[in-house]
Each structure stands twice: as C-alpha cells, then as structure tokens.
Subunit: 326 residues, 2 copies
C-alpha cells in the first residue's frame, strides 16, 4: 500500500508553525514521500471529547481546510453549538467550532470503539484525501503539565484558559517514560532511504520536547542515517506565534536560535535560522542555513521547504562520509 511505503522525508511537528512547514514539504514532495510525526502532548478530554489540537491543525492545513486567518481551526467555521453549550452552562473556554466538532466526535467515538489514535488519524487523513502519512507520536497519553506560579496546570488550561499568562517554572511530559513511541516513526528513522528529518519551527519545549521525551526516540534520531535539521521558530528573537520566547525567558534560557540548537544538541546535524538572526550563524557549533523562515503565504512555505531539503541534501553527503570514517 502507498501509505505503507517508506517516506523520503520525516518531519516532527506541532502547532501552527509546524503545520505550515509540513504543508510546504507536502506541497513540493511527491505523494506519500512525507511522513509527519505529530505532538500529542496537547491532547485533552473536554466535554467527553478527545481533542488532539496538533493533529487537527495538521489535518486541516494539509487538506486545505484550515482557517487562513488563525492557522488553527477550520475555514468557514461557525459557533452555534458553542453558543448552545454556553446556554446550557457547559464549559465554554475552549472554542469548539461547528465543523471542527465533527473531527472530535469522530475521533472520540472511534477511540471508544477500540481503534487507536494512529489508526483513526490515518483514517481521517485518507478521508480528507491527504497523501502523506500522519503519525501521532504515541497512542499512549502523554499530557503536558505546566508548572507555573499559578500552580500545576493541564496544558490547555495554561494555553487557552489562562492564555499563557502564568509564569512557567517547569514542563512535565507526564507518562512519557512509559509511553510507546509510534513504531512507524522509529521504523522510518531506521530506513536507509530516508533523506531528511526536519524538526519544524514548532515550540521546541511544548511541541517537540514531548516527542523527544519518548523512550528511544532521541536515540533513534541520533542514529538515523538521514541528516536531522531543525528550523528555529525565532524571528527577531521572538516567536511568530505562541509563547516560545516567553517560556524561554521564564525558564532562564537565552532567547536566541543558539539556545534552540543547544536544545536539540546531540540530535542535530544542521540548523535553519531566519535572516533576522544571521549574525548568529558563525557562532553556532553546527552547519547553519540562513534564509527566510517567516511563512506568510503558501509560497513562503514551499520556499522554506525547498531550502530545508536542499540543506539536508548537502548535509547528507557529509554525514555519510563522517559515518564511513568513524
């Protein structure tokens, strides 16, 4: 089956920035050559629904259903159910669009019937005619807990309800130690034919760290023959969207792409940074590509994707030579 064939490119993604680059890669690669491992640390139960925000964002983005204004949720969305839920006194701090609800209903129903998140995501991607393999990082729950000055918060409480306002002391990827990383992700990393692993410009601490916290995942990333490159989410020392830079400051991490390189450290063969951070380039201890990382439209996404694949291609030769000599 085409969905089971070996991908040429493996991307790690979470959030809106991640989905944008994944979309760029998806747009320029032939069908079924892209596999995306998605963060599920943001997943939560809400009104009896299993909500996987990062999977949804990716499915909507790749199928062209995403709301272009927000980057999350669906285009042409309406909120009649939400309004009626409020009228019934139900929690209304998490926005559930009428169209979006179908995804949560379908997923929750199928989970209760015994399907795995991986199976369901693959099914939903097929229904939305997506010709890429989307792999949740794990079928086991690994809910991110945010330790803040307002107490320990579930991720969505911190992120949506509290709008990232509390100061973060630590992040905890609950259950990661005992979780089984997606076999399809580990298998892809071992493939000889894999040409690139691209860590998308997602929040390194909230979106990518949960994936790397899974047993064996970081090691698999270190051992893959393909070059591993990360795209720094910082532009002008700020995150385009979301609390990356705020969290870095709160965790006493210097807000710089150098810190991003350091975060991925031993896994990384190359870093992609924005023009606005180019003065860093010569100070970094690894190959660095300077380009435009701000994705304001589809062309930007495709150009960044191209740049990443070319960069990976250069690095691949070097990596395999090193490997041959080591």
């Amino acid at each position: 089956m085409s969905t089971q064939s070996c991908p040429r490119v493996l991307a790690l993604s979470g959030g809106v920035g991640g989905a944008k680059l994944a979309h760029g890669l998806y747009s320029i690669l032939p069908d079924w050559q892209l596999q995306i491992v998605v963060n599920t640390g943001d997943d939560f139960e809400h009104l009896g629904l299993h909500i996987s925000p990062d999977i949804d964002t990716l499915l909507y983005t790749l199928s062209g259903l995403a709301n272009p204004a927000t980057g999350w949720g669906r285009d042409g969305e309406q909120w009649l159910c939400m309004e009626a839920l409020s009228q019934l006194g139900e929690a209304d701090w998490f926005q559930l669009g009428d169209r979006d609800l179908a995804m949560h209903l379908s997923r929750s129903h199928r989970l209760r019937q015994g399907s795995t998140l991986t199976q369901i995501t693959q099914y939903q991607a097929e229904r939305l005619s997506i010709q890429a393999r989307i792999t949740p990082m794990s079928d086991d729950p690994v809910p991110t807990r945010v330790h803040t000055d307002a107490g320990q918060l579930d991720f969505q409480h911190y992120f949506v309800k509290e709008r990232c306002l509390p100061q973060v002391h630590a992040l905890e990827y609950t259950g990661a130690d005992a979780a089984q990383p997606a076999p399809a992700a580990l298998a892809a990393l071992q493939e000889e034919t894999l040409e690139a692993v691209i860590i998308c410009p997602s929040n390194p601490y909230l979106s990518i760290a949960p994936i790397l916290a899974l047993p064996g995942f970081r090691e698999a990333l270190r051992n893959t023959r393909a070059p591993v490159i990360a795209v720094s989410p910082l532009v002008n020392r700020k995150a385009i969207k979301g609390p990356t830079d705020k969290i870095m400051r709160e965790l006493s991490i210097q807000v710089s792409s150098a810190s991003i390189a350091n975060h991925y450290a031993d896994c990384l063969d190359g870093l992609v940074i924005d023009y606005s951070e180019q003065t860093l380039a010569h100070t970094l201890p690894l190959p660095t590509l300077v380009t435009n990382t701000l994705m304001q439209n589809n062309d930007d996404r495709c150009q960044l994707a191209h740049a990443c694949l070319n960069f990976a291609s250069e690095l691949k030769q070097a990596k395999n030579q090193n490997r041959a000599f080591s």
Copy 2:
C-alpha cells in the same frame, strides 16, 4: 424548592404531538404546577452521544427554542457539523443540528460523569428557564425494539433510517420489566393534591406504552385519585404526524379512537377525541369529550389544554364519589 413541590397536573408525553399539548398545559398552568413524564424508549447511542429525542423535543418546545416548521429540533438550526461528519465518513442518517448537538454533548458528558438522566434533564430544564418538572420515565435504559418484516430494528433505525417503512409485527420495550420507573412520577400519582393525569396525543404504542410497561406504573395510574384522561392522537382516523395509524393497521388494530380507549382501558377515566371522530362518542364505554385536537398554533395548544383540564375537573368529582362508595 419550587421544583420539588407537588404538581397539580401530571402529563405523559413523547414525540411532537405530546410536546405540543404539554406546552399548552405549561402555558396555562401556574409555574411548577405541571410535571411531565417523558418517554425514553426512543433513546439511543449515536457517535458516542446519548440522544434522548423525546426529552429534547419537550425541552425545546417548552423553552420556545423548537423549530416551528418541524416540531422537533431547534429553531435557526444549521448543519455544518453534520456536513463535516459526512466528509469524515461518519454515519449521517440521523440529523444532528449544530445547536442541537450541544444538548447531546452536555447530556452524554454528564452521564459519563455519573449524573442520572433525571438529574441532567432537571438541570437542563432549569438552564432553559423551564418552570415545570420534566421527569424521564426511568433512568434505566428501556430501548424500544421494532420487530418488522425487515428484521428486528432499533427504534431509531426503524423510525429515522428506514423512515417507518418496514411492516411492524410487534413492539418490544426491552428491559422494561427490570427498569425502575421514575420515583417522582410514582410519587406524584399518589399525591392527594393531584388534579389530573393527561396522556398526551402521542403515539400510544411507541411513546406511551414504554412508560406503561414499567413495573408498577400502570397500577399507579389505576390507583391515582386524580382522573386519568387520554387525548386520542387520531384526527380523521389518521395520525397528524408519525406512524400511529400505519402501525395500528400492521398490528391489526382498528384505526379508531375506540382502539385508543381500549389500549389504555383500565387506566382511563375519560377520552378526548377530535370533532372528526365525534360519531364515535356515544359508542365508547367511557366519558368522552369531543373537541378540536388539531394543534396548529399556540392558541390551539392552550385551548386543548383548557378543555382537558375542565374535562378532568368534571371527572374528578365523579371519580371521588365512586371511590367513596366503593
């Protein structure tokens, strides 16, 4: 609490016809003087949601949220979620409106959290500012099974998916024997202050029979001091809506209000029939009121409610005299 006070009138209801008369009674009675026992034989699980169509219809009708064109569902409804569910390949034979979905989500979530259907219905009625007590017939599942020439069908499969087309051989109120009838309904029937029990012009076989099949319910109805009157759902020997007359023919029951009287038999002190069936009046073995039972607008609902209460008031005196002599 006002919601706990004794009702003056107890109505048994299911479906659109039942909700219309219940609404008439609700409109003319002072707050909290009406209690409505609702059929839950139509309840079913769909896409992980617990759907109680007759409770929903009643809640929407009494709160003024019902769709006036259909009688069921909500006014100003839209179907974006349904459209997205179809896109995801989920079952779409049962219409779930975007606003309506909130009711199912709220109920399903609260059931999973351990609340009873009775508690949830009371909560929802309060949220919708309904000043009447709405009592699901039981908190135990009593799903109606329809034995047809197309096999045994779950009620909603027969009713919605198959549009009542298969020929009915028998109706089965599954689990009724072991179900606990709503204590609040039995208690109301024992109240000295109860002035009338009104069996609404619902489908006697699909909407009212499940209530009467609950252990002790029929006996409580026989023993109540209040007069029990039924409003025949037939006008011109046809049901206004739904398959009542079709089912009567298929079960070899004469399509006549006389058969309705016979169906309720020992429970009944009086029958209300439509002008179109008035030639029956002198042939029936019990007091009969002939009036307009077709409820095309709110005035019709109130007039029929008034007629029922007046009729009950006349019957009450006679019933209590008989009781004194017996």
